[in-house]
Structures are given as structure tokens and as C-alpha cells.
Symmetry: C2
């Protein structure tokens, strides 16, 4: 077990029950002897589901299954194992998914296409799915409405802390709950549904509306973070709505009654996404990068990620060095329109460069003090338009090398 990230929250939050959802985590011996490695959630009949997945061209067998199952829009069970990603396992991997899904459907008493599955861990090793299927009935018997922390622990791999978040919203006067758990620490990159996250609500929302809201919230949360720019073969975010809350019927994603729900959903997902960055492999500092003045929001985001994924920027921050020249470099390499002679940079709220040069009489002292903190803020205005975006990342430290140079040994 690696040492706890210095950026970890002080404790796992108190997650209330989400009516219509029971869950649990257990060890079934896939890779670890003691760590929980099997997650099961069971949803009430009638629950709807939305999902976003990795854009990898070598996506895993479980991701392919979920994409297909999502067409039904219904969910009764989610099965997740950690320790083995069942990715790049060929037809054996597909068969393994089928056996797991069939067994879970039998145990829960639903159709296979109401079962969603995710696997995370080593790539390319056959998944010993017999350990999963053998454990499902026993785990199901012990599911309860409060096992959020056990569930979050069961999906962890190199994570140093379990990740959960919760919020409530009102839909037409009725309070609904949104709970989420996530895992992720390395192989975290933007521009896709990143890592594993499972979000549950007791709201009653049709699958299509759920999907629209998930895609949007995902864009502002998981798709706005990066640890190392590497994209997993298994990234999966699922959002389940059990429909147990007694609120007025909602018509679709555009329904005004969902305004508060959307805000709460985005808050839960952003909270989880930031916890993933806070647990970035070897992370010592959480970095918030805000880009303004870009040609478009998309351009701003691309410039933000160019900064966030630059090893030279990330190592400078690890060294507590306000090396803003590297930020200039990263803006330049993004390939998006930027006016070198209007570029402005602030670090920790202190203006460092403006109009394309270092500010006159620049005093590095307050910036150097900011660099010593745990949370670093970088603001860049590229001087060409009104596009803006915020992205989050962590620094690149010796810890990252330690963790990844001998992951399998």
C-alpha cells in the first residue's frame, strides 16, 4: 500500500442511502490477498442508466459490453472487479464478460443487458472470472444501503484513498440524493470519460435525459482533469437513477425542474474528478489552470491541457519553481491561436507576465511563497478572444516514477 496522498481529503464523506440502491465490496482473490476487489451494486426494478466510456481504440471487453447494454437504458446490477482490467484479452475476455454478466443476472434476477460491468487493473492478463462468479451470490446476500466506503474501496487499484461524494437537489419540491464513487490515480487523461466512476440517484429520470446530463457534467469534471495524459482502455462513468423519489414527472434534459439536479450532479462529479487528481500517482500539489482570452472554449481547453500535460511545467511545480517560461512554451506548443505579445500569466493570483513580457519590477517573493503550498493556481490569458476553460492536474514527482517503474513487480 503506497503512502496516503498528501492531497487526500481528511476523511471519506458520509454518504446517505440512495433509495433503490444497495451495494457492497468484498475480496474474491483476483490479484490481491486482502484488499477488496469485487464491487456489486443492485438497483431497484425500473432504474435507468446513462454512461460515457473511453475513446481508446483498444477499449476493453467490459467497455464494449456496456456500450451495447446501454442501448436498453435499464440497469439492475453493476459488477466491478479491480486487479485485472480484462483488456487486450481477445475472445477469452469477451467470454469472461459473458459468464460474469449471466451469473450476475441469475443472482439478481434480471436480464443480462441490465447488468453493467467494469474491470480495472493489469492489461493483457486473462481475468480469472470464476473467482468473480463464485463470489457474486454471497456478496449479494450482504449488500446494504450504507456500504459506500466498502464499495469505493473495492474498485481501487493504485489509489491511496477511497473516493466518494454526495449532494442533494430539489426536483419540483422533492429532495433527491446523488451519491458517487470513483477510482483513478494513473493512466488518467483528458478528452474522454476518464477512469471508473459510478453515480447513483433516487430521482426518476428517463435514460435519454440522464445521458444528456451525464455527457455535459462529464465534460466539466472528469474530462477536465489529467494526471499523466495516458488514456485507459477501461474508462467508464455510469449514472443510475432508481426513480424511487416521489417528485413530479420530468419531461427531458431541458426540463426547468432539473436545473438544481444538474448543478448537484456536476458538483458530485467534479468533486470525484478532483479527488482523482488529488490521488494522482506521486502527486504533491493540485494545480488549477484557467485559460481565458482564447479563440473558443475548445481552444482554451486545448491550451489548458497543453500546460497540464507538459512534463516541464509539472516538474517545475514539483520543484516549487515559478518557471513561467515553461508555461509560455506550453501555450506555444498547443497549436491554438495565441498572441505572444498579448499573453498574460498570473501564478497564485500574482501577475507575472503581461503584454508578452515579464511585468516591470516583477517581485518573485509572493509567487515563490505560493509555489510552496499544496494548491497551485495558474491563470493564462492568451489575448485573442473570449474562450475560456479550467482544467486540473497534479505535479510530476519522483513518486510517479517510483510507482510506475515497478508497477508489476
Amino acid at each position: 500500500m503506497p503512502k496516503l496522498s498528501p492531497l487526500a481529503p481528511t476523511e471519506f464523506p458520509a454518504l446517505p442511502p440512495v433509495p433503490g440502491t444497495v451495494l457492497g465490496g468484498d475480496n474474491c482473490g483476483i490479484r490481491y490477498k486482502h484488499k477488496k476487489d469485487l464491487f456489486l451494486a443492485e438497483l431497484a426494478p425500473g432504474s435507468t442508466i446513462a454512461g460515457v466510456f473511453t475513446r481508446s481504440k483498444t477499449a476493453s471487453a467490459p467497455v464494449e459490453w456496456c456500450r451495447k447494454a446501454l442501448r436498453g437504458g435499464k440497469v439492475r446490477a453493476i459488477v466491478v472487479n479491480s486487479g485485472n482490467s480484462n483488456a487486450f484479452t481477445g475472445s477469452g475476455g469477451v467470454a469472461s464478460v459473458k459468464r460474469t454478466v449471466d451469473k450476475a443476472a441469475a443472482v439478481v434476477g434480471c436480464k443480462p443487458r441490465e447488468v453493467f460491468i467494469a474491470s480495472t487493473g493489469v492489461i493483457g492478463e486473462p481475468l480469472p472470472d470464476e473467482k468473480v462468479t463464485a463470489a457474486l451470490a454471497g456478496l449479494r446476500a450482504r449488500l446494504d444501503a450504507d456500504a459506500w466506503r466498502a464499495g469505493a474501496e473495492a474498485i481501487m487499484t493504485t489509489d491511496t484513498f477511497a473516493k466518494g461524494a454526495t449532494a442533494t437537489a430539489r426536483i419540483g419540491g422533492t429532495t433527491v440524493t446523488i451519491n458517487g464513487i470513483a477510482k483513478g490515480s494513473g493512466m488518467i487523461a483528458p478528452d474522454m470519460a476518464t477512469m471508473l466512476a459510478f453515480v447513483f440517484t433516487d430521482a426518476k429520470i428517463p435514460a435519454a435525459a440522464l445521458q444528456t446530463m451525464l455527457v455535459k457534467a462529464n465534460d466539466r469534471s472528469f474530462n477536465a482533469v489529467t494526471v499523466d495524459g495516458d488514456t485507459s482502455t477501461s474508462d467508464t462513468v455510469l449514472l443510475c437513477a432508481t426513480g424511487q423519489a416521489k417528485h413530479p414527472k420530468v419531461s427531458g434534459a431541458g426540463d426547468a425542474k432539473l436545473r438544481g439536479f444538474k448543478t448537484a450532479l456536476e458538483a458530485v462529479m467534479r468533486d470525484l474528478a478532483l479527488q482523482v487528481v488529488r490521488d494522482g500517482e506521486g502527486a504533491e500539489k493540485l494545480i488549477t489552470i484557467t485559460v481565458t482570452g482564447a479563440a473558443s472554449a475548445k481552444a482554451a481547453r486545448r491550451i489548458g491541457f497543453s500546460i497540464a500535460n507538459s512534463p516541464l511545467v509539472k516538474t517545475a511545480i514539483a520543484g516549487e519553481d515559478a518557471n513561467w517560461g515553461r508555461i509560455v512554451m506550453a501555450v506555444g506548443k498547443a497549436g491554438e491561436k495565441a498572441d505572444r505579445d498579448k499573453l498574460a500569466i498570473a501564478i497564485g493570483g500574482v501577475r507575472v507576465a503581461a503584454k508578452g513580457v515579464r511585468v516591470p519590477g516583477y517581485d518573485e517573493a509572493p509567487v515563490a511563497a505560493h509555489m510552496k503550498g499544496r494548491e497551485i493556481a495558474i491563470d493564462v490569458d492568451v489575448g485573442v478572444g473570449r474562450g475560456q476553460a479550467t482544467v486540473w492536474t497534479c505535479d510530476l514527482t519522483h513518486g510517479y516514477i517510483d510507482i510506475n517503474a515497478d508497477y508489476r513487480t
Copy 2:
């Protein structure tokens, strides 16, 4: 001075004179007290020039000057300083370039637009060009035809060894020489003219033909390497032809008499590019990645760079771990067409995966032995077409963090 790269060549090669070229390197006190930081080359009247430059949107003032001067196609002098990149220095930086160019033109006795200039080092600090201009006349008086090593040393920054390469070619029965020097160690990324390199030949070749040949050779050399995926604001490759060799006239880049010259030019540039990778910051291993079976050469190259820039692949290699699952991941995230179920991977010539799964009876022992060596070969066939490409990179080690977490201190 950081310790010598373990991948360094045993010695600086013996570079013969290139008729029409004299050069030298000296210390003028820009940033370092003792290390040479000023390079000057003087070319015979009538010399032609070609150049390729960074595609950064925040390119430095010297790069902008060279782009303009290149329109004339003539060169009499190249001035390079190390220790300060004169990048992101606003109108002050532009004025600094003008003063340097004017002084060099006066010293050499040529037009300003026959003077090319490059600066490498810290970004965003005003360049003390008075130190450069004060030193030019003295340095010019000491130029000679054999100072290749001194020249190569003068352009170094975090490099741990001076980089030179030479080759000869025959043009219509006459032997010509091609010498090159280069610098670069970090902020090295593909898809542009990377870092600084200066190549000299005594062949007599019109500027337009020279440019065509340079772009092509650059694509297969400097544009095929990466250290950290970060693109400099100052990347510059210049190719000068003094025209002193008495070979038959060449008509253009398509002239059959230039076939041998092109091969030799590419050999010199590839040699220099690989020396840059061998001196990659913190590099312990040189990695050659060959991608075949892609939809196009461009797709193959993009997949190659996705592998070459993946921190997870690079740290696995640093840890001597044949973690081919991360290669699968990097293929998947490249965004190019690949058939997961036809993907084949070999490491050190040993087939590891084929048809989308680990090969039956895979024996990791010979692969593990290969991983302990200094030169790692990765071959990937993505199973969809006939496009292929080779790219080179180095591993990502604690040394990279050490060097970059406190570059300015």
C-alpha cells in the same frame, strides 16, 4: 555539469574541414562563467541556406528573424548564444536580435539578412546582447576550419555531451563533405524542426533545392524523435552550402546527381537527432519504436509518438519492466485506426502479443533480459494497413525529475 549520459557516444567524432566554413566557440558571460556560450560560423561569399523552425505559436525573436532572412536564401554568418533563449522578451527581444545581427554583419562584412541567429536557454529573461556584440570581433579573428567541437560545446545547455556528425557524398564524381552539430536534451518534441542543429556542406546547391532536401531529411530525423513531448520556442535547423566543391552543376532537388547527397544528409541529421535522444534529460535507455500495419505513414507516426510520449511506457522501460499492456494503451489512445484483435507486439525481437492477446506459452525471460540493456526495440503491428514509421525516444527516470524540478536554482 550533470553527469555524462550513459548513452553518450564514446567520443566526439573527427569532423574534417568543410571548405568555405570557419567557426568557433567562446565564453562571453551571458549566464555561465566558464562554459562556452557564443558560437560563430562564417561562410564563404555565395553560400546558400535552408532552414526549418519550431511551429510554436510563441516562437522566439531569433526564430522570427531567421524566417524572414531565409527569403534571401544567402548566408555569410551564423551567431548562436546559449544560456538565454531571448524568447518571450517582447519588443526588447526584437531590438536585441537587430543589434546582434547588425554587429555581426559589420564584423563579417555582409548584409544583415545574410546573418542567421539562434538563442537557447532560459525563457523570458532579457538577453544581455551587449555581451554578445562585444565579443563578436574577437571571436571572428580566431575562427578556424577545425573548431567543430568548440562550436558544438558553445551551443550546449543541459546537454551532457557535445554532438557532431559527418558524412561524405559524391556529386557527379566529386566528393563533398557534410558536417553537422546539434544541441538538445529537454523540451524535445516531435512534429517540428526540433532544437538547434547546424549543418554545413561544401556542395554548391541552390537555396530552393537545399530547402526541399532539408524538409525531407528533417522529417526522418529530428522530427522523428521525442524526449518529453515539450516543444521549444527556439527550435532551429539550418543547412548551409558553401559551393566550394567543384562538382557538376545541379539543377534542383530532383537532380539524380543528388541521390547520394540526400542519403548522406539524412544520415548526418539522423545521427545528430539520435544523439539528442541519447542525451535526453535523465535518459538511461534509447528506445526505437517501429510501427507497421497502420492506415498510413502519418497514422503510424502518430501511433509511434503516442507510445514514445507515454509516461507510463517510458517509466515501465526505466524500471526494465516489459509491461506491454501499456503499449496497448498507448496504441489505443493515439486515436488512429487499429484493430485490437489483430494487434501484434514484439520487444527486443521477441513476439509478446499477437492477434490481440498474449502469445500462447509466452516466456518473459528473453524479453526481461532485453529490457536490462541500453537499447530497447519495440515493434508494433496494428493490423489495418501498410503504413509504417520509426520514432526514437528515451526512458523517463528520476534523473528527468532531478534535472527539471530545479533547473533555475
